[in-house]
Amino acid sequence: MKKLILLVEDNPEHAEIVQIALTKLADVEIKWAKDAKEALDLLKEGLKPQLILLDYRLPGMSGKELLERLREMEGMDAKVIVLTAEYISKAELMEDGCNNALLKPFLPNELIAKIKKYLR
């Protein structure tokens, strides 16, 4: 069965790069939401991703806020990797409750290595 990844990213270039990079992984399906609201709608409709790749600076609801919401959501067991270009350290991001974080700029292969750890 295909493993589902939800990408929440407003920057279309970054989204394209992640999507192309993930073609290197077999049996992975990726769904792209352009903002937090779109992501929440998808989840409410019953989308069950194993992993969420979350940008932090999003228009409207921020990635941090979305992360808080996810943590309160019942039955939500997706792992979350934060991807951000903000002026913030990985330690601070981890405190916010994500499972892992990658600071932009990153190499696509670094992301793939991280993702592999979370896909069973």
Binding site: N11, E13, T23, Y87, F106, N109
Partner: protein
């Protein structure tokens, strides 16, 4: 202790000063009365009142015998500097975010391009995309440095008489190809040959380029209808105005007042430095700039005004 001598000293002080005995004001100098806008003698006064009445005043006190002396220090400058620092922090945070974002795109596209495992029909497009982001990054870095230089007062302008006609036609000539590719018609009405304004050549060109670039960019984004940018002129006694009118996507009323702030961009392509830099430069040339729009899809007009050079 006798407070007589104290009073005399305090009366002469320019900063607000109060002497309390217990809760009762025994003496207040005129500066304190002014600040608190009332006659205080004999009143009971709480520390809270002192705090709340003047937000930029910080009260320090010390005890002498059974009296407590309050001195009010003006800390408005501290507040101003704090605000300034906050603004700079924000600027720095956004600037680094923008640079990191662009770098991420360049690095990502190029890494995928050289990755032999990635099979794509038009792989060279990845390199082209990296190139176009690199161009944007280079413009961004220039804008950031320019903005900082202007803010620090380091950008010195050389004000001299400029021939509007010649300069504008050169700029328009430069932008014609861009407008054509974007499917936007660019019209410039003729301007009096002799007309000269006071300005700095580079700064003037920069401003006009920014404004025209916006007009073309935000007109091309319109889905349907006429796509036209018109530049026209009007002379008055002291100067001349330049109007750049477009039939583009327009601006929502609530956004209008934010456009001259840093990073005010509402478009995915821009960063929102163009208008801020333009405004600063125009003001350094003693001119004016304003932006108007009746609303979304109603087009936008930018009005510029420059001082005329004496004949």
């Amino acid at each position: 202790m006798d407070i007589g001598i104290f009073r005399e000293v305090i009366q002469k002080m320019e900063i607000p000063c109060l002497i309390l005995e217990g809760n009762v004001v025994r003496f207040a100098n005129s500066s304190a009365e002014d600040t608190l806008k009332r006659k205080l003698l004999g009143e009971c006064i709480e520390e809270e009142i002192l705090q709340s009445r003047a937000p930029f005043l910080e009260w320090r006190s010390f005890e002498v015998d059974r009296y407590r002396v309050y001195l009010g220090f003006d800390v408005s400058e501290v507040y101003r500097l704090k605000g300034e620092l906050e603004k700079r922090k924000e600027f720095f945070a956004t600037a680094t975010h923008e640079i990191r974002s662009a770098t991420n795109s360049i690095l990502g596209y190029l890494a995928l391009y050289v990755d032999g495992e990635i099979k794509l029909a038009h792989k060279e497009e990845l390199a082209e995309k990296a190139y176009s982001v690199a161009l944007k990054l280079s413009a961004l870095v220039n804008d950031l440095l320019d903005y900082v230089r202007i803010e620090e007062g380091l950008r010195e302008l050389k004000l001299e008489p400029l021939k509007v006609n010649t300069l504008l036609h050169a700029i328009v000539e430069d932008l014609k190809g861009y407008a054509f590719r974007k499917n936007v018609e660019l019209n410039v009405s003729s301007v009096a040959e002799h007309l000269r304004i006071i300005g700095d050549k580079k700064a003037f060109c920069r401003v006009m380029r920014n404004v025209l670039d916006n007009a073309i960019k935000f007109t091309s984004m319109k889905e349907k209808g006429e796509k036209r940018v018109t530049v026209s002129f009007a002379e008055d006694e002291k100067g001349m105005s330049i109007r750049v009118e477009d039939t583009g996507i327009g601006i929502e009323p609530e956004k209008l007042s934010h456009l001259f702030k840093v990073f005010s961009s509402y478009s995915p392509e821009g960063t929102g430095l163009g208008l801020v830099i333009s405004k600063k430069l125009v003001e350094l040339m003693q001119g004016k700039i304003s932006i108007h729009s009746a609303g979304p899809d109603q087009g936008t007009t930018v009005e510029l005004w420059f001082r005329r050079a004496e004949k």
